[in-house]
């Protein structure tokens, strides 16, 4: 079979177009900024300011030209060149390959996890290609209660769909390497059974037709190592989540199509909702452990970028394929949960800095590492840019000769500044405008999003709210970046609850520093001039309002209220795809009974006991892998000693891993009950 998956001839033209125009735009913008600042000579703070501006403006310029490329790609023909697509005849053929669909999980809500697995499974079955797929839930859960609940949910799912022998459940006792280690463990045990592996996240949901299409594309493109289907955010009801979902639905396609249009076969992998060539992955993507200590050394945290780079280094291509569709995930329910996720990703992405110069990587892989770093470092850069601007203004205010400001040639070029500001804002807003344009002109799409007027109003409201939330995220991300670089631990103990209202007290605690920063900015700006305060209003307003913004946007009631009024509507809400509806109905119909005490449940419930022991005995090595003999000894003493002392979390896990202890304890209880 001929390889069709290398980047096509038009790659150079596409890349020169986007990267070249971004570079030219950055140079022109930076020169203009320098001209504006140097009217009265250039001070040291202003040199720093120009440098920071160049970095921030370059980042915006790249996003802008990527969005333009995406718009053109979508308008002129959504199919990427370079991949071979199946003909109508080929689409009718059965799949010749075997694909595993794996979902690594870690202490997740089993109801939604297994509902998504079932909906995906049924969706694949509906395509008639089920024989080509196996499903694995790969549990890294450490909580005993989550573990037992998963076993029960898996068993119920298999009974509902007749999935024994096709839907598998494996729990790892050793969580080495976290998600990447979990996936690596799967590859080393069962990977060789499959040609391809579809990696899902705990909240992923995929249409069966998409999975079949992905497997077929992999069959037809033997040099393709990874195909990434960009996931669409769906399924949450809080206002914050609905804003994310709406933005992802309207602007996301433009951005994704733009990235795919110039990155082509050197695109990136996002860690889930993607298909990988299993043998190539096994042979070439085993992650190294980096030398040195955390945050830059140790196990690689954000594995996806590195695996994509290794896959590309081995000669396989990595494609982002936006046209696939049918790929879903859920956004965080509120700003604090979003920031919590960002904290984890931030450390992972910054770790990639040490890989940028690694030998043998494709230049685009290095570019992906840098773009990942920049997506977090842009925040502290923006912050430093603001600070430098303030310092420069204070310098001019207090150290320059006041009379020089009256000289016409030395006066600050206010119209020029406004022009540059307008250009920057225009470039920031362009992806939104382009996304809106596509939604308005595509037949029927606007109608599914509340109609043209409501759709436009939604974009305007989303833009205002996103602008207010952006400075808060800037401070959060700056905190995470500095924390990672300086090596101090950024603690975050708040509990994640599904679409639950956020207490005012927690929001006030998290945002106290942000409000203080907003007040500080106003005071310092007022020392310079009232007009500077006006310039800073877009930033300061978000900081001063951060507490009510976070609390109110975390409310489902507000999210649902906007939905009832036709705001932030998605076509996937007005006409839900079958797989989404099915996942929702399974979650509602087949609720998973909560497990309040895992050991107690295994000892008292015959079904749970039989199932748990069967799973332990079916996985030789699992029962012997208990890491703490002392915990087991202590658990045995408590369980068999007849006392009522509760087991610690570690003792529970140790007891649940030991068939002998569980059998003895259950027998003892039954005997006691009989006598």
């Amino acid at each position: 079979m001929e390889a069709h998956s290398f980047s096509p001839e038009s790659a150079g033209f596409r890349r020169a177009g986007v990267l070249g125009l971004a570079a030219v735009t950055t140079v022109v913008g930076t020169l203009e900024m320098h001209r504006l600042l140097s009217a009265q000579g250039t001070s040291a703070p202003e040199v720093v300011l120009v440098f920071l501006f160049a970095l921030c403006f370059g980042w915006i310029a790249l996003s802008f030209w990527t969005a333009i490329a995406g718009f053109l790609q979508l308008a002129l023909g959504p199919r990427l060149p370079g991949l071979r697509y199946p003909s109508v005849d080929e689409e009718a053929l059965p799949l010749a390959s075997r694909t595993s669909v794996v979902m690594p999980i870690h202490n997740e809500d089993p109801a939604s996890v297994f509902a998504n697995v079932q909906a995906t499974y049924e969706s694949v079955a509906a395509t008639g290609h089920l024989d080509a797929f196996d499903f694995y839930v790969l549990s890294d859960s450490t909580r005993a209660e989550a573990w037992v609940a998963e076993e029960l949910a898996w068993s119920d799912l298999c009974r509902r769909v007749g999935g024994q022998g096709r839907i598998f459940y494996r729990r790892r006792t050793d969580n080495t390497g976290k998600k990447a280690g979990n996936l690596g463990d799967f590859c080393e045990r069962w990977g060789r059974r499959y040609d391809f592996t579809v990696v899902l996240d705990a909240d992923s949901l995929m249409d069966g037709r998409t999975l079949v299409k992905m497997a077929r594309l992999m069959e037809l493109n033997p040099r393709a190592g990874i195909l990434q289907a960009p996931p669409l955010n769906v399924g949450r009801t809080t206002l914050f989540a609905r804003l994310q979902q709406f933005a992802g639905r309207v602007y996301g396609p433009v951005v994704a199509a733009g990235a795919a249009a110039w990155q082509l076969g050197e695109s990136n992998y996002w860690g889930h909702n993607a298909i990988i060539r299993t043998e190539a992955f096994i042979n070439h993507c085993g992650l190294p452990v980096l030398p040195g200590k955390q945050p830059f050394g140790g196990h690689i945290l954000s594995h996806d970028f590195v695996e994509a780079a290794l896959m590309r280094r081995a000669g396989y291509t990595v494609w982002l394929v936006p046209e696939l569709g049918g790929s879903y995930e859920q956004p965080p329910p509120n700003l604090l949960a979003y920031a919590q996720r960002d904290r984890r990703w931030c450390q992972g992405n910054l770790q990639h800095l040490s890989l940028v110069m690694a030998g043998g990587l494709h230049p685009f892989s290095r570019g992906h590492f840098l773009m990942g770093v920049m997506s977090y470092v842009a925040s502290p850069l923006w912050l430093l840019f603001l600070m430098s601007g303030l310092v420069a203004a204070l310098h001019d205010r207090f150290f320059l000769d006041a009379h020089s400001l009256d000289t016409a040639s030395l006066a600050f070029d206010a119209p020029g500044s406004l022009r540059l500001f307008a250009v920057s804002m225009g470039m920031l807003l362009t992806p939104k405008v382009l996304g809106l344009t596509l939604a308005l002109v595509r037949p029927g799409e606007a109608a599914k999003m509340g109609g043209r007027v409501r759709l436009t109003l939604s974009v305007l409201l989303e833009s205002v709210l996103a602008s207010l939330l952006a400075p808060v995220m800037m401070l959060f991300q700056s905190h995470f970046v500095f924390g990672t670089i300086l090596g101090y631990r950024v603690n975050w103990s708040s509990q994640q609850r599904e679409d639950a209202d956020l207490p005012w007290a927690e929001a006030a605690r998290r945002h106290a520093a942000h409000v203080a920063a907003g007040v500080g900015l106003v005071v310092v700006a007022a020392l310079v001039s009232t007009s500077l305060v006006a310039w800073l209003i877009p930033v300061v307003a978000g900081l001063l309002l951060s507490v009510p913004l976070t609390v109110l946007t975390a409310r489902s009631s507000l999210g649902l209220w906007t939905a009832r009024r036709g705001l932030f509507l998605l076509p996937e809400e007005t006409e839900p795809p079958e797989v989404l509806e099915r996942a929702q109905s399974i979650t509602e119909e087949h609720g998973v009974e909560p497990v309040s005490d895992a050991v107690e449940r295994v000892l008292t419930d015959a079904k749970t006991h039989a199932l748990h022991l069967a799973l332990l005995e079916s996985q030789p090595g699992l029962a012997e892998s208990t890491s703490s003999p002392a915990a087991l000894e202590s658990a045995r003493r408590k369980l068999l000693g007849g006392g009522a002392e509760p087991l610690s979390a570690q003792e529970k896990v140790a007891a649940l891993l030991d068939v002998g202890t569980l059998s003895e304890a259950r027998e003892q209880r039954l005997m006691r009950a009989l006598s």
Partner: protein, 167 residues
């Protein structure tokens, strides 16, 4: 009194099979693991296990060993060769409990052949957490993080490359 007479309504089991109380209790515990709780069922199952054995379950361990053997034979006849192996009893018990076999009474086990619908259901319910492994090694990739520095360092003192610390 050390022994009791166990009466059973099951026609296939002699009505005078008895077991010492400790053995009977051990058997009851064993069969409760399959979901049987009804006294008549437990009596019938004890009789089914001990039928034909002269020791009449003098020792609880021996009685349970007999019960395990009985159940393994029964499960292997129901589940077929596909599920034969060391975990047969554990997996078979799980499937039996998941199908609520106990609700059909002791007769389900003592009759010559299990009903076809139950056989189908119990076979489909045998937990298969994972297929057979095809073990392989995912080799850890070598990444020279700073090739130029590495060149200098090797020239200077021939140190090991700055690849993974796990090697």
């Amino acid at each position: 009194m050390d022994s009791v007479t166990t009466l059973t309504a099951c026609p296939s089991v002699p009505s005078t099979v008895w077991a010492v109380p400790r053995s009977r209790a051990a058997l009851d515990t064993f069969f409760r693991g399959f979901g049987f709780n009804d006294e008549a069922d437990l009596s019938a199952l004890a009789a089914w296990v001990l039928d034909g054995y002269s020791a009449h379950g003098a020792q609880p361990q021996a009685a349970v060993a007999l019960a395990r053997a009985r159940m393994e034979t029964w499960l292997s006849s129901v589940l077929g060769l596909e599920h034969a192996g060391p975990g047969l009893l554990a997996r078979g018990r799980a499937a039996f409990v998941l199908c609520d076999g106990a609700s059909r009474g002791a007769r389900l086990l003592t009759r010559p052949a299990a009903p076809e619908d139950f056989v189908r259901a119990v076979r489909a319910a045998v937990p298969v957490p994972a297929p057979a492994q095809v073990s392989t090694v995912m080799p850890e990739q070598q990444l020279v993080l700073w090739p130029f520095g590495e060149l200098l360092r090797r020239w200077w003192r021939g140190a090991a490359p700055d690849v993974s610390i796990s090697r």
